[in-house]
């Protein structure tokens, strides 16, 4: 499966979006992880009949296409929100003001 973002980069995006309400990129990243799991599952699923082979190939191919679409979406969203694309750091303006401990 071709990827733009590595698993670690997706985790980096999700890690910065702890709280549900400010986590739109993280939601996309989470779906990407789900798609990768789905793709991986199809690769390793048992093929006992020709139909099995066709089913697994179809799902894997569509997961890959969906992956490409969502990665493009994530890229666009991160640029819109002005994330640092090198470090994948969320801009401070998007963070809720934390309480001083």
């Amino acid at each position: 499966m071709k990827t733009v973002f590595s698993d670690r980069q997706l985790s980096q995006i999700i890690d910065q979006s702890l709280i549900y309400q400010c986590a739109c990129p993280a939601q996309v990243a989470k779906q990407l992880i789900g798609l990768r799991d789905l793709y991986s599952y199809q690769q390793n699923c048992l093929n006992q009949t020709d139909t099995d082979v066709a089913v697994h190939k179809t799902i894997a191919a569509d997961a890959e296409r969906a992956q490409a679409v969502l990665e493009e979406c994530l890229q666009a969203v991160l640029e819109l929100e002005k994330w640092d694309m090198q470090t994948l750091q969320m801009p401070a303006s998007l963070q809720k003001p934390p309480r001083i401990l």
Partner: protein, 341 residues
């Protein structure tokens, strides 16, 4: 004006990121029954030195942190009652921790991004369950504390004011010397807490040696022992109390006497308490007052009835006790070493 202390559950938030640690703390402050503490999570966090009173831990795990499996497993082994929760990214990070969840080393895994309200609800429910359990534990301990030993159960089987019986018993008084002076060097709360800890330790030893605490006497305890081995057990227990006090650098005196004691239920149907009355109770109190710090003063009847020699310097004495017409034969015991039996 009255003040009340609302019991709270200790929750420790571990998070290597200052920002998210602060956010989590903000949300968890909504759980009024939790006392939230925070700490920057690093692998220098010593799993064996968890802050006191912590019963729940919430770890926010980052992908760049080392996999915390070993740390979490150690924590759970060290504190099996701890409720361990981890917030983790889906994918590899979550997969790495799932085996710990399946084996019960982690109690709950939350996938990022979290729904903070759901997290708050979950923690509130867990804290509530812990408070209920703590309350039950205290109740259980109280019941055990006042559980009568041996034939004294007959008194408790008929818990009515005025119900009384005579028993052969050994009576023990303990007294922490000069404890009131502590209050000048510490706060009232610290004083009370320290006193409670010391008396609690004495009570546990008394229970261990099959005695029964009748009541506290300010900075000491009144306890009774019954059965054929009562004098021996009471002496052994006194020795252990003194050894423990010596280790804690606390000056304690102990008095023991033995004989017929009137035991019974005093009070009204609305407020009952068990008590012991008689000359031997009075004598034990006087002997306790005669004991110097680190000493046990026991009546001769107690010393004669104890079957084994104690690891102690024992000095026979005849003392005059207020309220007794005749002099009383007793032994002054200075504990010198660990018991051998």
């Amino acid at each position: 004006m009255t003040s009340s202390i609302v019991p709270r559950v200790g929750l420790l938030v571990l998070d290597s990121n200052d920002y998210t640690r602060s956010l989590l703390c903000q949300y968890l402050d909504k759980v009024s029954i939790c006392q939230v503490q925070t700490r920057a999570y690093t692998f220098e966090v010593d799993s064996s030195k968890l802050p006191k009173a912590i019963t729940m831990v919430l770890l926010n795990h980052y992908h760049q942190d080392q996999v915390p499996s070993d740390f979490l497993a150690r924590l759970k082994t060290q504190y099996p009652q701890l409720h361990l929760m981890v917030i983790v990214s889906p994918g590899n990070e979550k997969r790495a921790l799932e085996p710990l969840c399946q084996t019960g080393k982690i109690d709950a895994l939350f996938e990022k991004p979290i729904d903070p309200e759901a997290l708050v609800r979950y923690i509130e429910e867990q804290a509530r369950q812990r408070l209920i359990q703590q309350h039950l534990n205290v109740e259980h301990l109280n019941l055990l504390r006042f559980l009568p030993t041996g034939s004294l159960r007959r008194i408790f089987n008929q818990p009515e004011p005025g119900h009384a019986e005579l028993f052969d018993m050994t009576v023990m008084f303990t007294d922490i010397r000069n404890s009131s002076q502590w209050i000048t060097s510490t706060s009232a709360q610290d004083y009370f807490s320290r006193l409670n800890g010391l008396l609690g330790a004495q009570a546990r030893l008394i229970r261990k040696y099959e005695g029964m605490v009748v009541k506290t006497t300010g900075d000491g305890l009144l306890a009774v022992f019954e059965g054929s081995a009562r004098r021996h057990l009471a002496l052994k227990c006194s020795q252990r109390i003194q050894l423990s006090a010596r280790d804690e650098h606390v000056p304690v005196g102990v008095g023991l006497s033995d004989g017929l004691i009137l035991t019974g239920i005093l009070g009204t149907p609305e407020h009952l308490h068990f008590d012991v009355i008689g000359a031997q109770v009075h004598l034990a109190a006087r002997l306790c007052a005669a004991a110097q710090a680190g000493q046990v003063v026991a009546s001769q009847a107690v010393a004669d009835g104890s079957r084994h020699a104690l690891a102690a310097i024992t000095i026979p004495e005849v003392i005059q006790v207020r309220g007794f017409a005749d002099s009383v034969n007793c032994v002054r015991i200075q504990i010198v070493n660990q018991e051998s039996a």
